[in-house]
Symmetry: C2
Subunit: 247 residues, 2 copies
């Protein structure tokens, strides 16, 4: 660590990175911590890191030693295999964690790329483990976060394994909408940070298919699209479409 605890208390750097001052606390941290415990979290976050659009936060194969909490911005993670195929495995937004995949082998298993200018908190994993041995609620919270990731992935497997193109896109839009809502943004309108190609990769579809599905939704009055700007006009319609058995 570049600085000890005493120094921390006075540097501006620390004030900026302190969890105790962070308005995202309720998103990435457990509720019900004592004031004291929350202050201890400040020890955990070693620094922040800013990334410009297109920059990698980490790359597959790199040594793992920290997880990242997104303070602002938007990311994608993707996996690349030898034969050239790749797939986007997820999109992450403010308040979500990145890097959990690296714990298992101590090397990152995917790439994380900023889709817009972003800022993350760097949480050295050994700090997190140390502190979660002392703070029960933190430990439990972290386990829940990892477990949620597993459940989320099962949802994606479900989507990829059983849904048809339009169902997948509807599910995708509803999921984004819900996550934006949880962050205090409008549930009904947002900018997509990713390209049609990236959406397609995530949903197991080609970009043309994604584009056609967008057009179709528009024709049917479910949404209004203008390139990356999306307005959801009929949430229930999307839900119905999503859960409707094959056509």
């Amino acid at each position: 660590m570049p600085q000890n605890n005493a120094a921390k208390k006075i540097t501006l750097e620390v004030v900026k990175t302190a969890c105790s001052n962070c308005n995202l606390r309720e998103l990435c941290m457990p509720l019900g911590l004592s004031r004291q415990e929350i202050e201890r979290l400040d020890e955990m976050v070693s620094s922040r890191r800013r990334l410009r659009r297109g920059e990698h936060l980490y790359r597959a194969g790199e040594h793992f030693d920290a997880i990242y909490a997104i303070r602002s911005g938007f990311f994608k993670t993707d996996v690349l295999i030898e034969d050239g195929r790749d797939q986007v495995t997820g999109f992450q937004m403010t308040g979500e964690l990145l890097g959990l995949d690296g714990i298992s082998t101590e090397a990152h298993s995917c790439n994380a790329v900023a889709l817009e200018d972003s800022e993350v908190c760097v949480i050295p994993f050994s700090h997190l483990e140390g502190l979660s041995r002392e703070i029960r609620t933190l430990q439990h919270h972290f386990h829940k976060v990892m477990s949620r990731e597993i459940v989320r992935d099962h949802g994606v497997m479900m989507l990829l394994g059983t849904m048809r193109a339009e169902e997948r896109l509807a599910a995708f839009l509803l999921n984004l909408s819900q996550r934006f809502t949880a962050r205090g943004y409008s549930p009904a309108e947002f900018y997509l940070r990713m390209t049609r190609d990236e959406i397609g990769s995530y949903l197991g579809l080609k970009l043309e298919t994604v584009s056609r599905a967008f057009s179709r939704f528009q024709e049917e009055g479910l949404i209004a699209v203008q390139q990356k700007y999306v307005r959801i006009l009929d949430t229930d319609g999307l839900k119905k479409l999503m859960s409707h058995q094959r056509g």
Copy 2:
């Protein structure tokens, strides 16, 4: 807990369930624990549970309070959604853990069904968390296990999102082979515990497609199949097939 620690030391039940006597230790537990620490693991496992083929270990929606280590047998997990669709999210064998998905909401998010007569160790989650606050290596091992699950799921997403039918089946067979090998069984021949339908569900294919792919592999001399009995004749052939760009 039905029995306290003192009682544990003498009952036969405990001798049978003790981690310290378990020959699966190296599969489900971290290496490098002291004798003392290993004995403490015995406190963690509260009991065993036997299941007959077809029985549920847990069901989606049930309250979560323990994870399970498979001592012997074979399981599948599946998710069911309202509209009637379902998907197998995984197959688990000896030495693997079940139930990690339940941590996030304290309710299981999928069903776990024994595909043959099986036995599991019941590990109450609060015991595991308690002990991992005290034993660093246990904590770290558990985090690795959860992370590995995430990485595995990303692999499945990759499979579902980018591979064609025969590539998926090849990947599936190679994965099984590798896991059997790790358990000391033959890498080249094994009994499938699941039906074609279950394989299809897991791979995002219909059973007819799975069946045809099996036949095709047989014609090409890659494998020999007789219903559930599979012999792999050409591992490299399967690997090549798996990683070959759209044939």
